[in-house]
Amino acid sequence: MSADGADGPKGVPLNELGIEQLSQLQKNIEQELAFFQESANTLKVLMARNDKSIFALADLKVATSNHQALIPLSESMYVRAEIADPSKQLVEIGTGYFVELDREKAKAVFERKKENIFKQMETVEKILTDKRRTRAILSEAFQAKVQSQIAAMGPNTALRSSQMRTDPLSTCELQFFKETIQQGQRLEGRGREEFREAKLVVGAECGTAVCTIGDTKVMCAVSAEICEPSSGRPQKGVINIEVDLSPMANPAHEHDRLGQKGMELTRLLELVIRDSRCVDVESLCIRNGKEVWKLRVDVRILDEDGSVLDCACLAAVTALQHFRRPNVTLEPHHTIIHSEWEKAMVPLNIYHMPICVTFGFLRDGNVMLVDPSDKETQCVSGSLVIACNKRREICALHQSTNFVLTTTMMNHCVKLAMLRAESLSELVQEIIRNDSRQRSAYCKPEGFAISIPKKLLNCGSRQPQILNPPKPLIAGPVDDTAAHSSTFTVENSLREDAVKLEEIDEDDVIATQLEAIQKNVQQVEVDTKSSAKPNNRKREVEEVDELLDGLDDLDEGDVTTLEPKETSDDDDGMDLLKAKKKKI
């Protein structure tokens, strides 16, 4: 058997084997190793048992007939018995056969057995060391193969990820990002190892939170309902995580369809929040096997600019901290769920807060970027997510795409992630503490209203902000009031005298405007009566004259055919034509 295993890798050069074959071989070797390890273990056990028997024989030497002894029936139960004839023993010679032998013979049997086992053990040990060596060689070859394959794939990975998006990465952006990242500069003016500012707001309702990191914005809402637990875990509550990628965040997203990216996000959130056991699910049990609380964590991506998982995780953790479930009372045959006003709501039991941190890697993992933005994510060749808590425990580690990271780089990333986790945990705790203080003082919480930038609201009503197109020149009377109001806005606000405009007494302005309106109304009336119509008429007459002059050169017939067209357009025109004809 040992010869078979050794021949495989020796007969064919290892380098020529494909990755799949290598992994198959590795698996075989692992299996064989496990088998031999087991047999070695059983041999050791046998040896120990044999040794015990030899000692027992030595002990029996001093025994006489009718000697009393404790005979073990199990590990810890004995029977008092008398030895009838200590010179003879029943010795097991294998497969359930026993032979009555005297002391000397029995000892010889045991000695022979011992020798046998020892020989077997030696051979097995030899095989084991052999197999271990082959395994080491194989795994080395496998690693080398994988690395070479990644190197061949390397430049394509970035391209593939950018092709899947609807917002494509242009070459100039790629060039720019690569250049600036090399120089250690980034768009927001931060360094390669600087995080963006994270902002957290908790809602007026319990269990809601909005988190923004840079332009990424995620809203999270936690709700609870009572349901039946699964039969496998009758005493544990359930946590469900639902992710929704809103089309508002990225036009590539569709409602109710997660796609690859959404699925990855959901799985990672489940890994970080559910599988790291940060929430005490046992305390969510109401009635064993019948009723438990089911928590639903709704994560909604509102805007996307890289590090979505970091933002989503922070929002979810905050929302879970902020959440209060209704209190319940157990009656013999039913459960009473109390409203907020009957009994105080109960917060969740949370053991720790996992915080995710995303790292992007360029150039096969040699250059590291902390907290990459959306465009930077498209430029990097892979990313690493580390989830840890403030107690410096790593809760999850996820690497996307294939590249090999050095240990020092990994250690550095973990250190950065832990620092970030500490500061963000503090932020979350502070937010939650402030909120609970406000609530206990019966203040109405402000909720998400504070997250609307005040600048945006003010800015819209500012006068100089109004942008009017250059005023077109219109002939004829112009409404003076309209002109007046638009001069305000077109005015260059940067000029020094721009300020003066605002200081004008409002009453005066209104008075002058009123005057202007009155004047205009009179003018317009006068205009319509006297000047406007005759002007039009005069122009029309001229036009018709020109037309007819041109027509004079043509036949009489043509003119007559043209006539009805003109009449349909304009009554005055017809009259004029007639007049003209008379003239002719």
Binding site: T166, D167, P168, L169, S170, T171, C172, E173, L174, Q175, F176, E179, T180, Q183, Q185, R186, L187, E188, G189, P251, K375, P453, K455, L456, N458, C459, G460, S461, R462, P464, Q465, I466, L467, N468, P469, P470, K471, D479, A482, S486, T489, V490, N492, S493, L494, A498
Partner: protein
């Protein structure tokens, strides 16, 4: 200044006999002006439109836009301009291009183009180098407005080229990449700043840029 939400009715301006030109975000339904986009109502003479804060571009004829080439299909380039669908540009429409002499554009290159049926390049075409980024549509419109002070003020401090597409894509080119970053930050930061404070903002950001520059 009032905020309108989709479905709100707009009262017609006082002079009812004058023709009203209806602009973006407003629809005529049963002789009533109804808003179809949320935003602020703007009026100028006999024109009304809604000023909307939006990130998604809806193509309008005559708009000058910046697009990213995403592929080739026969005689056409497929171009992404931030709208719901890709748009196409025939290669013969480029300046100096003939049937034989095709423009050499690859996937990922960016072009400045006009949304229309005309066959003229009129100085538009490929943009070389530089940096491309996106802002909201109304910020792009604001930058293009002749009364806007952002670009003239920035121009006093930096030397750069800029092309602004109506689809919110902006292309800038300067000699050094840290200058590009500074200009990018100015444009991004000016979105929520009133016209009166632009000078202060630009001067402040420029001073910060210089401070970092001299240190390094």
């Amino acid at each position: 200044m009032s905020v309108y939400l989709p479905g709100d009715h707009i009262d017609s301006p006082s002079s009812s006999d004058a023709k009203i030109i209806v602009g973006y975000g407003i629809d005529l339904q049963n002789d009533q002006l109804v808003t179809v986009q949320p935003g602020l109502l703007r009026t100028s003479e006999n024109k009304v439109w809604i000023s909307v804060h939006s990130k998604r571009y809806i193509p309008t004829e005559g708009d000058h836009v910046i697009g990213v080439i995403v592929g080739k299909a026969g005689d056409f380039f497929r171009v992404e301009i931030g709208a719901a669908e890709y748009s196409v540009v025939c290669f013969t429409k480029f300046e100096g291009a003939t049937k034989r002499n095709r423009p050499n554009l690859k996937t990922g290159d960016i072009i400045y183009a006009c949304v229309d049926d005309e066959a003229k390049a009129r100085g538009m075409g490929q943009l070389h180098g530089g940096f491309l980024f996106k802002t909201s549509l109304n910020h792009a419109r604001r930058l293009l407005s002749p009364t806007c002070q952002i670009l003239p003020t920035t121009g006093r401090f930096f030397k750069f080229e800029i092309t602004i597409g109506m689809n919110g894509k902006i292309w800038i080119k300067a000699q050094y990449s840290n200058e590009i970053i500074a200009i990018y930050n100015i444009i991004k930061a000016s979105e929520n700043v009133g016209e009166g404070e632009i000078v202060d903002l630009v001067a402040d950001l420029h001073a910060r840029f210089r401070g970092i520059h001299s240190d390094s």
